[in-house]
Symmetry: C2
Subunit: 768 residues, 2 copies
């Protein structure tokens, strides 16, 4: 059964009952972050029930020793893991000497809220402790976007039925572990514990990677809103710094503790400056005060929503779902730092490790590109550009040469860290996504300069990879690509995956196109690039031989491209005829059975038709959709959005809406019973795509033209979305009988709606 305890609300995620069974799920769902750091919604006070503690800092990772059953040559020695970072949110609380712990109290009027409009998390409730003392608690917390190393907590306790002593013991704890260690090892070494008056910090470093992090806290207290200065007792332990304050209260008194926390890291500071920087961060935060910090936060989120919001009328759950996705994507990545990327769990959990998958290029770039400044998508491209040498090394380990690159399946720093041969070595289509990301960016932004300055080097290395990876088949008299895993990971080590072969051919052709353009328009750059990459024109001819003679498996009778060689040897039984007890097949069937079945985990041939829609006729898309959709089990969160978009493009709105529903509230309703491990961050971009590219029909074509074809599910009253197109803010509104385009910029915008050209003057609205 799905969990659905989240209260529907347009702008907030709300939980109205305290249920220990939901604590870990809520810790994921109510996570907060600012793109640079983030944390699960763990309680500040002690909690003795089941909990999954997690605080994370972007770019700080640990290379855990790989664990395998059977080693294969080429496996990476290490698996880079998202690292649980020192905890600065914790506050031990005692009421008249009794530890305050929700697991031992009677709780009433519980409410937890994640306010997505303003970017804060709060809890309020009444609690009766084992000693009979009753308190009313209100706690609010956020991670500042404006000051992106800082977070703040306001924690209020009202004494309802007693007088006595409340002890607050805020702490910084660096003695934390990862839940997913391979060998139960500790990943941090503690270097220094610095105590002081109401503030202090711990300097620690990660083992192996030697990232240094200073974690600071600053405390302030009020009693009935008057600042108080109780005696501070300091407890210094090996890995933990605690300050303890006892406050005498009378019945009705409200005591508040403010706690400001900060991380500073060696990514941004010299090691010797880390402690002073973190201490000064929390000092400044305290001086500014909680409320002023919160004002900044609200303004930051206003700015984000202005170019990213989607409004849905007539379906409050859909409204909440889509905003949750946009909110989490922004919490995970802000695009200001080209060293960071979008991990599959963001800052909401540890699982999978690594931070960067092909999800970034295939799903996330479209979202960030259309809702933020072009520099954000460019930073995502630069991330890969900066890792090009590692991708070349990675390919060399697998026997490639001459500067061929294979980007890793999963990475933190450019090195591969996944270790299943069928994925690590064979799911090579990811390399195509790298080039597609550039192509997509150039189409959307028209910033061809990026190709000249950076992109071409990546594209050349990838073209070289495809050229070397394909081989001539004497039997087929064409080039083939053997032994791959396509996007549909329910097939391994297959030959001539249509999607992979198509991308390979396209990558070579697009690279050569770009090379020609650069040769004619940027002569100096052309020479520089050829020189840097040791490329000759002759080499590109050899690439083109492969591209021009690429084999694609095709069935004449059905007139469909086959997912791979031999696909029609399978027993073809549509998913709907499969007994429900057998689903999901990845939990019910052994791997060999899944592999030899016809069932498709996620869009594969259809993924190709989605990416290159302009190269297939509507009839072709329909034919392939009708062949593959019935065989697709969508057991990946990245699958339904592509089917939804394609369904909309062939005017099948009921199907498009059905597929959209499968991702829209994946985490909020916990379809897969795993939200306690963290949220599916990257697939959230897919949901956004379903609305904007699917229902809205937004496309930016290779010639740079923008087009829309808005349709609306019959279940909705209206929806609207906003995009940032080359600096112009465009809002698209679609109701059951109206379609509006609003140009909020100072420039005239040309677009195509349902294939007809439309011009919208600056700051104007057009109704179609």
């Amino acid at each position: 059964m799905n969990k659905n305890y989240i209260v529907p609300n347009e702008w907030s995620i709300i939980e109205n009952d305290f249920d220990a069974e939901n604590v870990e799920a809520s810790e994921s769902l109510f996570s907060i972050g600012n793109g640079a750091l983030g944390q699960r919604a763990n309680f500040e006070e002690d909690y003795s029930g089941k909990t999954f503690q997690g605080s994370y800092i972007g770019g700080i990772y640990y290379p855990d020793k790989t664990r395998v059953g059977w080693w294969k040559n080429g496996y990476p020695e290490y698996f880079a893991k998202v690292l649980n970072a020192p905890n600065w949110i914790g506050i031990h609380i005692k009421i008249n000497e009794v530890i305050f712990d929700l697991n031992t109290c009677k709780i009433s009027d519980f409410k937890r809220e994640l306010n997505m409009k303003e970017g804060w998390l709060s809890r309020s409730f009444n609690a009766e402790l084992p000693n009979g003392n009753k308190i009313e608690v209100f706690a609010k917390r956020f991670i500042s976007i404006e000051f992106n190393e800082v977070g703040a907590i306001e924690y209020k306790i009202k004494a309802i039925n007693f007088s006595g002593e409340i002890t607050f013991s805020p702490y910084v704890d660096a003695g934390i572990m990862n839940e997913d260690t391979n060998y139960d090892e500790f990943f941090w070494e503690i270097l220094e514990v610095v105590e002081g008056e109401n503030s202090g910090c711990i300097l620690s470093k990660t083992l192996k990677t030697e990232f240094h992090v200073s974690t600071a806290m600053q405390i302030a207290l009020t009693l009935n809103n008057e600042e108080i200065f109780p005696v501070q007792q300091t407890i210094v332990e090996d890995k933990k710094l605690t300050y303890s304050y006892a406050v005498d209260v009378k019945e009705g008194d409200v005591t508040t503790i403010f706690k400001f926390g900060s991380y500073t890291t060696s990514l941004n500071y010299k090691i010797e400056e880390l402690n002073s920087a973190s201490l000064s961060n929390v000092q400044n935060a305290k001086e500014l005060g909680f409320e002023k910090l919160l004002d900044f936060q609200i303004k930051s989120w206003q700015k984000i929503w202005k170019t990213a919001d989607i409004v849905i009328e007539g379906d409050i759950e859909a409204q909440q779902g889509i905003r949750f996705n946009i909110f989490q994507l922004n919490q995970t990545y802000m695009g200001t730092d080209a060293r960071l990327n979008i991990g599959p769990k963001g800052f909401t959990g540890e699982k999978y490790g690594g931070s960067t998958y092909w999800d970034t290029e295939a799903y996330c770039i479209p979202f960030y590109m259309a809702t933020k400044d072009a520099s954000v998508a460019k930073n995502l491209l630069l991330y890969r550009y900066n890792q090009l040498n590692k991708a070349i090394e990675n390919a060399e380990k697998l026997g490639f040469k001459n500067g061929a690159a294979l980007y890793p399946m999963v990475t933190m720093n450019g090195e591969e860290c996944h270790n299943e041969w069928e994925i690590t070595f064979e799911e090579i289509h990811r390399n195509g996504a790298m080039v597609y990301g550039i192509y997509n960016y150039v189409n959307f932004t028209q910033d061809f300069d990026y190709v000249v300055t950076n992109g071409l080097e990546v594209m050349i290395a990838i073209a070289r990879f495809w050229h070397q990876r394909a081989n001539w088949s004497d039997a087929k008299k064409q080039f083939v690509i053997l032994g791959v895993t396509g996007p549909n990971e329910y097939e391994n080590n297959i030959n001539n995956n249509f999607y992979t072969n198509y991308l390979a051919k396209w990558c070579i052709e697009y690279t050569v196109d770009c090379l020609n353009k650069v040769q004619h328009n940027f002569t100096e750059d052309f020479d520089r690039i050829l020189d840097k990459t040791n490329l000759t024109i002759e080499e590109t001819y050899n690439w083109l031989k492969v591209a021009d003679n690429m084999y694609f498996p095709f069935n004449k009778e059905k007139q469909v491209f086959l997912q791979q060689d031999g696909f029609l040897d399978k027993e073809i039984i549509p998913v709907e005829k499969l007994d429900k007890s057998q689903r999901p097949i990845n939990q019910k069937w052994s791997w060999d059975r899944i592999l030899r079945s016809c069932y498709i985990k996620q869009a594969d041939v259809l993924q190709g038709m989605y990416l290159f829609e302009d190269r297939f006729s509507k009839e072709e898309v329909e034919r392939h959709f009708d062949f593959y959709e019935p065989l697709t089990v969508h057991e990946s969160s990245l699958s339904p959005c592509v089917h939804s978009i394609l369904a909309a493009s062939i005017d099948r709105m009921p199907k498009a809406y059905e597929q959209y529903l499968r991702t829209a509230r994946l985490d909020l309703d916990d379809y897969n019973h795993e939200v306690h491990e963290g949220c599916h961050i990257t697939s959230m971009a897919g949901t956004w795509m379903s609305v904007v590219q699917g229902f809205g029909g937004m496309r930016v074509w290779e010639n740079g033209l923008l087009s829309f074809n808005p349709q609306i599910p019959k279940e909705w009253k209206s929806y609207s979305f906003t995009i940032n197109f080359r600096g112009s803010i465009i809002k698209v509104y679609k109701s059951q009988n109206e379609c509006k385009f609003i140009n909020e910029s100072d420039k005239e915008i040309k677009m195509f709606v349902d294939k007809k050209e439309v011009l919208i003057p600056a700051n104007q609205l057009i109704i179609l």
Copy 2:
């Protein structure tokens, strides 16, 4: 570089120098065993250099928790491991208070010998200790075949240049671990340490499996051949029992310690009887005395060699190599206990775990069947019969039903314990080997009764598996078998592996043939079997539909069966054109590169042609040999023997001999630089096959006829081999210009030599 420090000798394995670098390799090569238990040739005295300690008891295993990187449904939770057993060989020795340790002494005149004719291991050498004391040492040890729970040590020390005290501290140590634990866990619990006068024992049990083992020792000492009774000091530790004896010696004195050891296990005794049984074993051994025990040992080996020896004249290394293989195979398995089997490392190491692979049916049964009584091969078949229910459960876990069985890839007790999906779930051809083992046994022994009483149940379960595993291909209009790994494990998840499809079809047909035979000749049994297996004749018609319409990949142009679908899409470059720096490819190439290459790890299509030689013309075999041999890298010890046999069968003796050489001294010359981990026991049967089936051309056909076609490598003067054919001892002698057959039995024997019928009267010799 290969190691080749072993001194060539017809009957012994000899090492003439002490080199610390060779200690672990020699510990493997000089291993001793009696089919029920065995041990690496570890030193009795302390040794502080690199050593790999190992004592093993057949049938005593530990299910270590599986370690994987990424879990797949259907993986077994445990991996059954050969278990390092309590050590009873150890004797701490001090000379005038200085520990005697070869690693700290000057050593001269070192000689180690494994006498294969008589079945004992000895060491002799002079040593100068750090204190200047010089001693002469002679140590001899064996594991008794006659009393198969017992072993004996004679350990002599002569004081060369000193008088003083020699302290012997023999012990039993149950505080041992496996080198290959997955989680560094201890596998044994110690229950009781029993001390006594000159004898004692430790009762321990394995965790999880609860095998109970009592390990006993009994000590006797002599000074200059007179029994002495020095004071015994007893040291009882948690997991170890030590007796200490100080002997005063004068220069020239010879002190000898005799140590008798014994294991008794809960496989054969009630738990409460284990200690008294082990103590009584060592007591009896001591009373019999070392020399008498040794006489028994010599007789036991005489009996073994009588029906198993191969004599090679003109090549002493070949002679030593083949006897080493026959010797080790006999040390590993004697065939008296149907609960035991032949592990890939026998009692010489731990690696791979499990004890039973398809090696048993494909390689070992032919050897044991032809060199021992028929009951031995029958016991190997019964081992599988007794595990049929587990094989049915194993298939159920993978989605099969109705009594279909899939025998495990690796097992101890019938449960699968391997965990690579491409092997565990997909290398299903092993199921065919189970039926082939029965077929082979019936042809050789004419014991069809076994089919009636046991074999058919196994065959029915396997026919059901193949019937369910194949599926109808609409594209090919035939039945296909998708997603398998063939014997060539350098291909994974391929479709329509010729060998697998061929075995599947054959298994069904042979099962139906046998069913028909039983129906006509054993009516009651027929009803019993149908009843027990819930089989109907209709079901067998469905099986036959699959067998009759099985698809085999075939290339018309080249007129060869293809190893699998799409094999000719590969880049085909013969192994000889591959740069030597790239070999062995399994150490140089990443797995994906190996998979998409044309290179073949071990015989695959050719394995099928070897098993079913009578169904292919000589021209067909030649054509396939010429196609596949050049692509075969033989990176499995099980490969060259099959190629050698096929080469001989198509009259290519130089090739046959070249392939024979690749296995003949695999361990003695340590081709693969891994003999320190243990010997390749099962592949030793392959070498035997190369001589007997390859050079000797021995075949027993489906109609029961015995035939030979002896050829001889030009490098040899002559060779002869002995087989036990249905109780008759036949010796085949072949020199460069003569061929003799000697019938050592009381019955006339009919055979075919080079297709001509030959009759040899009882106890006669025939020269051809």
